[in-house]
């Protein structure tokens, strides 16, 4: 393996949008890339920063309402660039709050509309109840996905986006239509914490493969011992909501 091959991994708003163990997703991508033999350059982007060039992979996390308020204007500013990157195949993972803001809008319970960047054809409305608990979904791409959801936003997908998974146990996007998350190009949005990637290494490796393949035309994976992940998945799926 050529050690010169470098992947530039960007954390979007790690200061304001990093609640509920979002570091777990960044760390999992970083380590697995390293274990697969690639060098990782980890970059942070916070409001007001200059968006770095040559980004290969982007992760964004959940946040509180106050965190979303802080980043929203900045996100709208870089929205067009993010959309271009998505069109060019840059893989991204957006969790919870950032997932919502990658949609068209978030309408709060008191009627305030927070505009999103519209990368996903979806909308979210503030709900009265928090959807909290262990969740299991099934996806065509990744099989069983396990995680933990904690949100009050009710998300409805439009016709131009595909759900990431079908809810097997839990609430998902809205607690009604059994969809969870969204996928568009190589961009994944989801409500799942847990953290998501450590317990779902297939998703981590899919994101990695897309990033490496796009940059270097081929991805040569190595075998990673995922026994702890398999056991942790099994237990998580069996726990009370």
């Amino acid at each position: 393996m050529n050690q010169q091959q470098t992947i530039r991994l960007l954390q979007l708003y790690p200061h304001d949008m990093n609640i509920y163990g979002d570091w777990g997703n960044t760390l999992t991508l970083k380590r697995r890339l390293e274990w697969h033999g690639y060098h990782v350059e980890l970059l942070d982007y916070n409001p007001g920063d200059v968006l770095p060039e040559g980004i290969d992979l982007i992760v964004g996390g959940g946040g509180q309402d106050s965190g979303q308020d802080k980043i929203q204007a900045d996100l709208l500013k870089i929205g067009p660039t993010l959309k271009k990157l998505a069109t060019s195949g840059v893989p991204m993972l957006m969790i919870c709050g950032m997932y919502q803001l990658f949609g068209r809008f978030f309408k709060t319970r008191d009627g305030r509309v927070i505009e999103g960047i519209g990368l996903f054809d979806l909308e979210t409305h503030g709900g009265n109840e928090r959807m909290i608990g262990n969740i299991v979904t099934k996806s065509d791409l990744f099989g069983k996905i396990v995680g933990y959801e904690n949100h009050s936003g009710i998300t409805t997908l439009g016709p131009n986006v595909t759900p990431l998974g079908r809810v097997y146990r839990g609430a998902g996007n809205n607690g009604k239509d059994a969809t969870e998350g969204a996928i568009y190009n190589n961009v994944i949005g989801t409500y799942l914490h847990g953290s998501l990637l450590p317990k779902n290494p297939l998703i981590a490796d899919w994101l990695i493969e897309k990033a490496v393949d796009r940059k270097y035309d081929e991805f040569i994976p190595t075998v990673i011992e995922d026994r702890f992940a398999q056991e942790a998945r099994r237990i998580a799926a069996s726990r009370p909501r």
Binding site: H15, W23, G24, Q64, D65, Y148, N150, P198
Partner: protein, 432 residues
């Protein structure tokens, strides 16, 4: 309600408590329930007898330890202190403890009550009884599946602050407790406590966990308040400063977070006693305070100490790892996800385990043992053995690490299980 009726209900409550203790229950919920139902003014009527009023202690981390310290410091001042010692962290538990303490006429033979309440119950309690003093320790990521978001938790404490009549004591190192928003509409004087700049790097607020940003500079609004500061802590000796005086004393407490709580207890004791403070008595009592159970207590097994360290959330876990040297010590970690522990395992990913990279972790246990092992894998920390079952894991841990001191980081319900197992092997202080 007339006096005779109240006496009958009080007597009845005492009887129910005794009966439920005899049945082997904890004895706190049922009598509390009955009194709340039949004599709803009992709590307010009884607590309003206290000439020094009620102290309410809330926050994410350190409530039990701080409450224990405050009680001991106030007792050193000659006050008779009522407290919810059993840690029944809700109003019903307080009612039950009060029933135990009042005489048949409903008189409460105490001067002051020091009550530990979680944030949601603190709000509920303060709408019934206005606390004279409140002490707010921190607002951190914890139990998110119960309260939703930390800003919402800060709002709960804010509403308690508004209802406080005598003095509000806050941790000035927590940005959620020293904002204009938090102080808004409060009428009681505010006092602060905290740590020196030099120590503050050990306490990064949750918001800065990932960005490496510097501690936000203290708002100017703090300069006018009476402050109790922990200047330094080294080799079990702590130095505190307040009102231009400096006090250095040895402590039995371990772990920087316990010393931070001790600072809170000193600040509160000073607020309650004012000019009546017996300083020497307070400092002597402080140097004798021991940690609350499962919060850094040592249990001796086969001639070697086994130290139980309770970890409930990322900040607590990070502080514990920073406080205890892992060298020459076998480490075990036990993580449960029962309701009292929090069901979401995401928090483990907000803790860095690099400090264990040299020693590795000898044993990983608990319902979520594999989540913990997975977490350690991604910090490239060696995991020697994984066994979800706590008694099997404990036996294996003790057997394979015979002649060295041991330390177990554990969540709340894992701590209760392990303590029970350990009590079969050593004498463990009984806690109701």
């Amino acid at each position: 309600m007339d006096g005779v009726k109240q006496q009958i209900i009080t007597l009845f409550g005492k009887g129910v408590r005794r009966a439920s203790l005899l049945r082997g229950g904890g004895g706190s919920a049922l009598p509390g329930l009955i009194i709340e139902r039949f004599d709803p003014s009992f709590l307010k009527r009884t607590l309003s007898q206290l000439n020094h009023g009620v102290v309410l202690i809330s926050g994410t981390n350190g409530k039990t330890t701080t409450t224990k310290m405050v009680v001991e410091l106030l007792e050193s001042q000659g006050l008779r202190v009522f407290t919810n010692r059993t840690g029944s962290n809700f109003t019903r538990g307080i009612v039950a403890a009060l029933i135990e303490s009042v005489d048949i006429k409903g008189n409460l033979p105490f001067d002051i009550a020091v009550l530990e309440l979680d944030e949601a119950y603190a709000v509920k309690f303060s709408t019934q009884i206005q606390p004279k003093y409140s002490l707010f320790l921190n607002v951190l990521r914890d139990q998110l599946d119960r309260f939703g978001e930390i800003d919402a938790t800060a709002n709960m404490l804010h509403s308690v602050a508004i209802r406080t009549t005598g003095c509000i004591v806050v941790n000035r190192d927590d940005p959620r407790l020293v904002s204009d928003a938090f102080f808004k509409d409060t009428s009681a004087p505010i006092r602060t406590y905290g740590v020196s700049k030099q120590l503050s790097q050990l306490f990064p607020p949750d918001d800065n966990m990932r960005s490496g940003a510097q501690l936000s500079s203290r708002p100017n609004l703090l300069q006018n308040y009476d402050d109790t500061c922990l200047q330094s802590f080294e080799n079990n000796t702590a130095t505190f400063t307040y009102t231009n005086s400096t006090h250095t004393l040895p402590l039995l407490l371990k772990g920087i977070f316990n010393i931070q709580n001790a600072t809170a207890a000193v600040a509160l004791t000073r607020a309650v006693m004012g000019t009546e403070l017996h300083e020497d008595a307070m400092l002597t009592a402080l140097s004798k305070v021991t940690p609350a159970f499962g919060r850094g207590e040592d249990i001796i097994v086969d001639g070697q100490p086994v130290e139980l360290v309770l970890v409930k959330n990322p900040s607590g876990f990070r502080l514990s790892l920073a406080s205890f040297n892992p060298a020459e010590t076998a480490t075990m970690i036990a993580i449960n996800d029962n309701y009292a522990d929090g069901r979401d395992m995401s928090w483990l990913w907000d803790v860095e385990f690099d400090s264990l990279s040299k020693t590795g972790v000898a044993e990983v246990s608990g319902i979520r043992a594999y989540d913990m092992a997975l977490r350690l894998q991604y910090d490239e920390i060696e995991v020697k053995h994984v066994e979800p079952n706590s008694s099997l894991a404990l036996r294996h841990f003790l057997d394979t690490n015979r002649n060295i001191p041991k330390r177990i980081y554990c969540t709340y319900t894992a701590m209760l299980e392990l303590r029970k197992q350990l009590s079969k092997l050593a004498t463990v202080e009984k806690v109701l």
